[in-house]
């Protein structure tokens, strides 16, 4: 781009800065405003909050349209100008952040509209909507922030709003516990995240993403021997938010929150924040691995590879657990975990390819179809009077056709059946794995088989066959306000990948990405804006639809093969079943899966006693060393000295005079000597 054009972009940037701030601020203003002004008027509050998020969405579309090759920076003010560290509050609008903002606001507005139906009879209706707005604000803060410290601040805000929403029904002890668990697990990860940020700052002297990116571009090994450790510490933040092993335990419990919350926060957006953040700081992972002296034996093992393995392991673990869960929301929760593992794996492995595009691609498509699946599950739960056990459902497909068909579409997308969007993004992940690490490719295919298996199991058991309980036989389709969001979400779930989205993300992330045939070349010189995107549509759709088979036939065929294997296995097991046959055939293994590999029990068996022990030690130190020796010792010795000195106070005037004179004599002796 020549100088003239650059200048034009810069001018456009200054014009659109206010727009960007409005995207961020409108959920906050509407949320806080309605909380303080119209809390008692339920309908008005809901409308107000929905309007705030919708406004954000509309402005986000405009922002997406204008975001170009050059990121627009909108620095508002210098928050903490310390010498050597200038903490600013600012936004960075580029293709990646505007795309993510679009995903967040789109899913959020649909979820909020859906919630007007789902939460209709809830006492704390207004609180629900205002907290959702707080969440959307915090999430947009992460997405649009232009420096790591601001990301961290909003990161914590997202944690808080997630805590508030998981514990929304706080009168239920399980919800309160789940909220605490989520918050604490997240804090554990965030601690590492902050340490990572500090290491990056210490080495580079800046936290601004654009500056960091430039510095890392000039010198990839700027972090020296701390490169891998800094990468892993920053990843710890993602580990908490995106629920990667070993901090994955909070996500299934977070399903205690209302189902729309699960759809928005614990499926589509917040848990994706970790993956998004990894894409945002991807420059940390492109450098070759380096370790400080005591860890030299790890050699050139990059943080990216370790992240890839953690992601792959999480994906496999969660997919296995999902196979034996019976709670409809828990199955979806473990499926989310598994897909998040997929994304993290793709980002980690992408380090060796120079781009995290495939992970980000899967994030975007997954956000839509997983939100739809959760909303569908919510619709089912709503219809069955808060029955969540799939074995007590059945036969719902006739009674709630809209929910059923959208759920099937979501299942097809999640399983990765072409031409649904999930197939294309999953294919990108598989290609990444195949190119970088064959072991993880095998794991990824295995996970894809399991994914299809448990999703088909869920659909067959919950929707087909005969009703297996009273509440299921009386089920009826949910109100229109709940089915419309499902139908709208079905569109991107099917067709999102028909757009040249993968290439768009590839160019947004600055890497080369894997293009699909024709679209690949068409998008190489991707110009600014949304109009060229439409122009590219015709050849893009063509290229996108059949791209996977042209580009890397093995990965695409394996993806398809996984769907076939998984669905036929699930059909043989559950086609006619009235109860789960797996516990009989698998025995102890099934119990292990049903018990979720007993992670919660292991954690409470290992970490709780350890924590109690540490607590007892700290208590002892506090009681005896700090309070005993420190406080009471000081107090005691002062009192003792006081008691001794009191004896001097005889009350006899002449003694005082004598002591005074003697003291004076001594002083005089020493000074005049």
């Amino acid at each position: 781009m020549d100088a003239h054009a650059t200048q034009q972009v810069a001018e456009a940037g200054s014009k659109y800065q206010d727009l960007a701030w409005m995207v961020l601020a409108s959920p906050l203003i509407c949320g806080a405003g309605s909380w303080f002004l119209s809390r008692r008027l339920r309908g008005l509050t809901a409308g107000f909050n929905i309007a705030g998020v919708l406004l954000s969405l509309v402005l986000g579309v405009i922002l997406f349209g204008i975001s170009g090759d050059h990121p627009l920076a909108a620095t508002a003010f210098h928050w903490l100008p310390i010498p050597g560290l200038d903490l600013t509050i600012g936004l960075q609008i580029d293709r990646l952040s505007s795309l993510m903002a679009l995903v967040v606001t789109a899913v959020a507005s649909l979820v909020m509209i859906y919630s007007t139906g789902y939460m209709h009879d809830d006492r704390s209706y207004s609180r629900f909507f205002c907290t959702l707005s707080l969440f959307v604000f915090s999430m947009l803060g992460i997405v649009l922030a232009d420096n790591l410290m601001m990301i961290f601040v909003f990161w914590e805000l997202v944690g808080v709003s997630s805590y508030l929403l998981i514990g929304f029904w706080h009168e239920r002890p399980a919800a309160g516990d789940a909220a605490k668990k989520a918050f604490l697990s997240n804090r554990l990860g965030d601690f590492g995240f902050l340490l990572g940020i500090l290491i990056v700052w210490a080495a580079t002297g800046t936290l601004n993403l654009a500056e960091l990116s430039a510095k890392f571009g000039a010198n990839p090994s700027i972090l020296g021997s701390m490169a891998s450790i800094a990468g892993l510490l920053v990843f710890m933040g993602a580990m908490g938010k995106s629920a990667q092993f070993p901090l994955h335990v909070w996500l299934p419990d977070a399903m205690e929150g209302p189902t729309p919350v699960s759809a928005l926060i614990h499926a589509a957006t917040m848990v994706a924040a970790g993956v998004y953040m990894l894409c945002r700081v991807f420059f940390l992972y492109t450098a070759p691995g380096a370790w400080p002296a005591p860890l030299d034996f790890l050699g050139g093992l990059g943080a990216g590879t370790i992240i890839g393995y953690i992601g792959g392991f999480t994906a496999l673990l969660a997919a296995l657990i999902a196979v034996q869960q019976n709670d409809i929301k828990r199955i979806l929760a473990y499926s989310t975990l598994s897909q998040l593992g997929y994304m993290v794996m793709a980002v980690g492995l992408g380090a060796q390819l120079g781009t995290p595009a495939s992970g980000m691609y899967h994030l975007v498509t997954h956000a839509f179809f997983k939100a739809m699946l959760f909303l569908g599950a919510g619709s089912v739960i709503h219809a069955c009077h808060h029955e969540q056990d799939i074995w007590k459902m059945g036969g719902l497909w006739k009674k709630m056709p809209k929910t059923f068909w959208t759920f099937v579409i979501g299942t097809a997308a999640l399983a990765g059946l072409p031409p649904f969007s999930g197939f294309y993004s999953k294919d990108e992940v598989l290609v990444t794995a195949l190119e970088v690490n064959p072991v993880l490719f095998v794991i990824a295919v295995l996970v894809a088989i399991l994914t299809t298996f448990y999703m088909v199991r869920l659909v067959v058991v919950a929707f087909l066959g005969e009703a297996r309980s009273e509440s299921a036989s009386h089920a009826h389709e949910s109100p229109t306000v709940m089915t419309w969001p499902l139908l709208i979400l079905a569109v991107p779930s099917v067709a999102l990948a028909w757009l040249p989205l993968g290439e768009f993300i590839g160019s947004a992330l600055g890497g080369h990405g894997h293009g699909h045939g024709a679209a690949h070349t068409a998008v190489e010189k991707y110009p600014v804006g949304i109009l060229p995107l439409i122009e590219n549509l015709s050849n893009g759709v063509n290229g996108a639809l059949f791209g996977p088979f042209n580009h890397n036939a093995l990965a695409a065929m394996m993806g398809l093969f996984a769907v076939l294997i998984g669905s036929s296995l699930a059909w043989t097991c559950y086609g006619k079943a009235s109860s789960d046959p797996l516990p009989k055939t698998l025995g102890g293994w099934a119990r292990l899966l049903k018990g979720r590999f007993y992670f919660d029990e292991i954690y409470s068996g290992v970490f709780v006693p350890l924590h109690d022990f540490a607590g007892a030690v700290a208590d002892w130190i506090d009681r005896w060393i700090i309070a005993g020796l420190g406080i009471r010792g000081l107090h005691g010795s002062v009192e003792l000295v006081g008691r001794a000195l009191r004896l001097v106070q005889s009350g006899n005037l002449q003694t005082y005079t004598f002591l005074f004179a003697a003291g004076l004599a001594v002083v005089a002796w020493f000074t005049l000597r």
Partner: protein, 101 residues
């Protein structure tokens, strides 16, 4: 032998020490009070001697002030002692130890 500054100062120091001894050793408040006056006058003597030998009137001015203030102080002090005696029927310091904790 010519009388010099050291002689005056020695006399002054002796008077001061006697006064201090009186304050410390005597039990009667009145005698202690007189001893205090003795100490003041010892200081006066030293000041006058300095003034004389330094050809400087500052010391004598100082002495006048001390004499004036001492007169006022005696009035107050004696009044206090009389008031104390009326209240306690004693002017011995052993009986006046109520400052003791």
């Amino acid at each position: 032998m010519e009388t010099g500054l050291p002689h005056y100062l020695i006399v002054s120091a002796l008077l001061f020490s006697l006064g201090l001894l009186g304050v410390i050793a005597r039990r009667s408040l009145l005698v202690m009070y007189m001893s205090l006056e003795l100490m003041l006058n010892a200081a006066n003597l030293a000041l006058v001697a300095f003034s004389r030998f330094n050809q400087n009137l500052n010391g004598q001015v100082m002495v006048f002030f001390i004499i004036t203030v001492a007169a006022a102080e005696v009035a107050v002090g004696l009044a206090l002692i009389v008031a104390l005696f009326r209240k306690r029927q004693t002017s011995h310091v052993e009986d006046l130890a109520s400052l003791k904790l």
